[in-house]
Each structure stands twice: as C-alpha cells, then as structure tokens.
C-alpha cells in the first residue's frame, strides 16, 4: 500500500488502517531488537536500508508518520496563543528545498527520515554514530510551547516536542577542551533536487557550549504532538527560543564538539547581517529592516504587529550567559 508520508500526517488515521498488521508487527519487533545508542545499531539500520528494494513501501515511515508522540508536560512553556498548525508547517525557511517560504512544504516530501543517524565527533571521549530512534527514546519527550522569532521580523508560537539538548550533550561526553558545538544539516542532492546554488552547503550552525547546555535549548523531534513534518526539519533539529530562527539547525546528521567558534553558513554568507550569536534583540537592527517589532503569525488576516522582546522574552533564563558582553558588537 503506497501512501505518501506527507499525506498521512492527520492524527485521526490509526496506523492499522494504513499499514497491514503483519508489516506493523514486523516493524515493532525490529524496533525492539534495535539496541539503544550503539554504533552497531546504527550500522544495522544502514544495512536494512541498503537491502531495501527501491520503490517498495517502507513500513517504518508510515508508522512513524501516523503515530502521535508520547509527550510529558514541561515547565518551559509560554501562554501566548499558538500559531495554527497549517501556518507553522506551510511557512518555512528550509533553503535546501527552495528559497520561497512555501517551497519546503511542497518539496520536502523527498526527504527520507528513516533510517537516520547522527554522527557525534570532534572533542568527545568516544566519537560514535547514534540512531534516531535511540536518541528519541533516551529521555521523555516534553511538550514545550515556545515563542519562535525569525530574523525576517515575523514570529510564531509553536508547541515543540523534545528534550533538553544538554541531555544528549552529557551523553556524548565532550572533553573539557570542547567550547563550541557545531550542527550540520543533511546534504543530499538526490533528496534535495531544489537545492539552490549560491550557498556553501551543507547548512551548519553553532552554539557556545554554555548556550547549548542551557535547559531551554531543545533537541526537537516533533511539534504539535506529532513527529516533525519534513519541512520543519525532520527527524531531528534544535530549537533555541531566544535566538533568531536560523540558529535552529534542521535535519541534523552531525554534531561536532570544537575548541574554537565554528564557521556557520549565514554568518559566512553575510557577516554584517547574521551574527554568530544572533540573540533576539530589538535594539540591534538588521541592516535592511528594524528588529524592534515582529509580525505575529496567528489566525488573523490583518497583521498583528507586536514589540519584540529582548532575548525573545527569555531573558530571565538566558541573560546571565552574556553578562559583560557588548551585545551590539556581538549581535
């Protein structure tokens, strides 16, 4: 039975209606067999992928797409009215799938999110490759409603599902010399036929270690209680609610620990427009527009323009990370 993943995101369809029972059970067994967070498991998943007959329906994807995530509540939640699901999943900057904000929702169905592994390397005790399903099971997935502020002066309020990035970093066991974390997005021209020229792909982003360890930094697997739609950075991304959206690396395939500040894609492209820190700051304008206000994407037709808050309103939790720093210089 061939059903496109993107069509089956509706939560009302039970997985049993999409996938035959035998296939589903096989998958469940395979899933339980897969050992947690070992390089061997990752290799095994890779081997399964290699032997898969191309074009044959992969049950894993269907089950994944139709399943609601099991989440627990979180104290890191804001009460602002949420952006409607359809708007948050049809208005995305994911340039690998096209530069228009409506492109990713139309093109990202070509992204294959299973099997998926994340390579951990750089300054760690033991470099290794982790399987996505293992990472997802490592800690309970929390539902956190965050404000999301794009550098383009629009904003959303999105319920993300994930756990603190610090949990995974602790698991990776970085060396004391590791001062920065670098994230890399998948680069695969076959899965990304609309990849635009003019950019130094792959997409990379970076954080200072103490920023990455802040409990607000969210390792994210889902939104609105569902696994991340491809256009939102499936199957694994980070969300840094006090920074501009482009700092949130999507569809991560590599996490590297570094001693020096890593080069990041937008900062390399236009250093005067996109700083390494890129903390939300109403007092530092983008060269081409003011950052003092933002257009809140909600259900209204008329624009809802509101003042932008320092650190996107998360100052209580993160301002201490930057004490003594000139945030106009280190924008």
């Amino acid at each position: 039975m061939l059903i496109r993943r993107t069509d089956s995101l509706g939560p009302s369809i039970p997985s049993s209606e999409i996938t035959s029972k035998e296939v589903f059970e096989q998958h469940q067994q395979a899933r339980s067999r897969r050992r947690f967070l070992t390089g061997a498991a990752a290799l095994g998943a890779g081997a399964i992928a290699a032997t898969r007959i191309p074009g044959i329906f992969d049950p894993h994807e269907e089950v994944q797409a139709a399943t609601q995530l099991q989440t627990v509540p979180s104290k890191y939640t804001v009460t602002d009215p949420q952006t409607p699901f359809n708007k948050a999943t049809n208005y995305n900057n994911f340039y690998e799938f096209g530069t228009d904000k409506s492109d990713p929702a139309r093109h990202a169905h070509t992204l294959v999110t299973r099997p998926w592994t994340v390579k951990i390397d750089g300054l760690v005790k033991k470099p290794q490759t982790l399987d996505i399903d293992g990472i997802m099971k490592y800690r309970p997935i929390e539902s956190r409603i965050y404000r999301h502020r794009c550098v383009e002066a629009w904003s959303m309020v999105i319920p993300w599902d994930g756990y603190s990035l610090s949990e995974l970093i602790k698991f990776c066991d970085p060396l004391p010399s590791a001062k920065y974390v670098e994230f890399t997005t998948l680069l695969d021209r076959k899965q990304m036929p609309d990849l635009p020229g003019g950019f130094s792909w792959p997409y990379t982003e970076g954080l200072r270690m103490d920023e990455a360890m802040n409990p607000l930094a969210l390792l994210t697997f889902g939104c609105y209680g569902q696994p991340l739609p491809n256009q939102n950075g499936a199957p694994i991304r980070v969300v840094m609610p006090w920074k501009y959206g482009f700092k949130n690396c999507k569809s991560i395939v590599k996490i590297s620990f570094k001693a020096k500040q890593p080069p990041t894609l937008w900062n390399e492209m236009a250093p005067n427009e996109y700083g390494f820190y890129s903390n939300v700051n109403p007092h530092v304008d983008h060269p081409r527009w003011s950052q003092a206000h933002e257009r809140r994407i909600d259900s209204s037709f008329l624009p809802h323009t509101i003042p932008t808050q320092m650190f996107n309103g998360y100052g209580d939790q993160v301002a201490s990370l930057y004490t003594g720093m000139d945030l106009k210089k280190n924008f």
């Binding site: 359809n86 708007k87 948050a88 049809n90 208005y91 530069t99 228009d100 904000k101 629009w154 635009p196 020229g197 003019g198 950019f199 492209m269 236009a270 427009e273 304008d285 060269p287 081409r288 527009w289 003011s290 003092a292 206000h293 257009r295 994407i297 259900s299 209204s300 037709f301 008329l302 624009p303 323009t305």
Partner: protein
C-alpha cells in the same frame, strides 16, 4: 487597425491588467489570504512582482513594434499599460505603509466604527518614526521609493493636454526616466533578498534584453542609414 478594434483591444487590456488585482481581491473574499501564513508578506511580494512585470511589459512595446510596421499600433497601448505599473506600484507602497510598517488597521477600523476617526492619525503618528528610519537607513527602501516617485511623475504627466503643455521634447525627456524606474525597481528587488538568493534574476534578464534591444536597434539604424547613401553615390558615379 480600425478605431473600433483599438477600443476593443484596450478594453481587453484593462481586464488583463486588472486581473492580478481582482485575483488578490478574490483570495481575500474566499478566505485564502487569511489562511495564508503571512498575508502581508504575500501581498507585498504579489504587488511588487506585478509592478515589475507590467513595467517590463511597458518597456517591451517599443522593441516589439519595431519588428514590423504592421504592429506599430502597439504604441497606442503603452500609456495604458504604464499607468497600471503605477497602479501596482502604489498598491505596493500602500501595503508597506498600512500593512507592513505596523499600522494597526484593525484598531483604526474599530475607531472609525466607534466614531473616533482620530485613530487614523494616531496610528500614523505611531508608525511614522519607523518609516522615517527606514527611509534614512535602508537603501532598498530609498531606491524603491525613487522608482515609485518616477512612476508618479510619469503618471501625472500622462494626459495628452499636459504633454502638449510641456512640449513633446520635454515630455519625452521626462518620460525616458522610465528606464531609471525599471532599473531602480530591479535593484530594489536585489537589495531586499538575502545574500545568495537569486530570485530576481528573471526580471533582471528580461530588463537586460529589453535595454539591449534598444542599443542594437540604434546601432543597426545608424549603420543602415549610411549604406544606402554610399550605394547611391556609387551608382551615380557609374552612370
């Protein structure tokens, strides 16, 4: 081309030029715009895109009609199309002022309904500093406003009686500014997209072809004026 067919074609052109605007109204009426994640962004890009398309169409008339004397009548549509470029440019500017800059239309409408028309001015005072800031700091805004202002000048001097009052030569000199407006419009587009984004390349390519066509024509005309002259003189000698 009979007068009657010109009138029919003009009516059709009006419909064609209004079609994008009618489409936008349709999207508003059927609720599609409200479902759009960022209606303001959509309207801004939509009106900006159509300003450029229609401006380029205006500039295409001269090179086209030079291809054959049989389509020389096209020039009679140029003013009509050009005025629609100004129409969409004005919609684009109005979108920037009333939707993009933070002007609170909802509050103003509520104010008008509650007999407080002062809200119109109050909201204006709130956003004005931001607009001044944009004008002073942002070159893509400056170049965009320059293009709009040129189109405005061309639009108000477009009636035949003003053309007569100005004198053909002066009028033509002023209306050659359309080249500046088109180039400024395309630069406005390049300066607003992010580094690395190449979306404006199509508009740029069309503009380049249209400008190049004029240069080629001028050069071709010069060389062809000379040749018949030499031929005649040779013939005169041989006789």
């Amino acid at each position: 081309m009979s007068k009657r067919s010109i009138i029919v074609l003009k009516a059709l052109l009006h419909l064609a030029c209004l079609a994008p605007f009618v489409w936008l109204l349709h999207l508003y009426r059927n609720g599609a715009l409200a479902l759009n994640p960022d209606p303001v962004n959509y309207i801004t890009h939509f009106t900006g895109d159509w300003t450029l398309y229609i401006l380029l169409a205006t500039l295409a008339i001269t090179p086209l009609r030079r291809l054959s004397p049989r389509i020389a009548f096209l020039v009679r549509f140029r003013r009509l199309i050009g005025l629609y470029a100004f129409f969409y440019a004005t919609l684009h500017l109005a979108t920037y002022i009333f939707l993009f800059s933070g002007y609170d239309v909802a509050t103003v409408l509520a104010g008008i309904r509650a007999d407080h028309p002062g809200e119109i001015v109050k909201q204006w005072k709130l956003i004005w500093p931001g607009i001044v800031d944009d004008l002073l700091k942002r070159r893509f805004i400056q170049v965009g406003l320059l293009a709009w202002f040129i189109l405005f000048l061309l639009a108000i001097t477009s009636p035949a009686f003003i053309m007569r009052a100005m004198g053909g030569k002066n009028w033509q000199r002023l209306h050659r500014l359309i080249y500046v407006a088109a180039i400024a419009g395309v630069i406005h587009f390049w300066w607003l997209v992010k580094t690395g984004v190449r979306t404006p390349w199509k508009d740029t390519a069309v503009l380049a072809v249209l400008l190049l066509a004029r240069i080629v024509y001028t050069v071709w005309k010069r060389t062809h004026k000379r040749k018949p002259a030499t031929r005649i003189s040779i013939e005169a000698v041989s006789k």
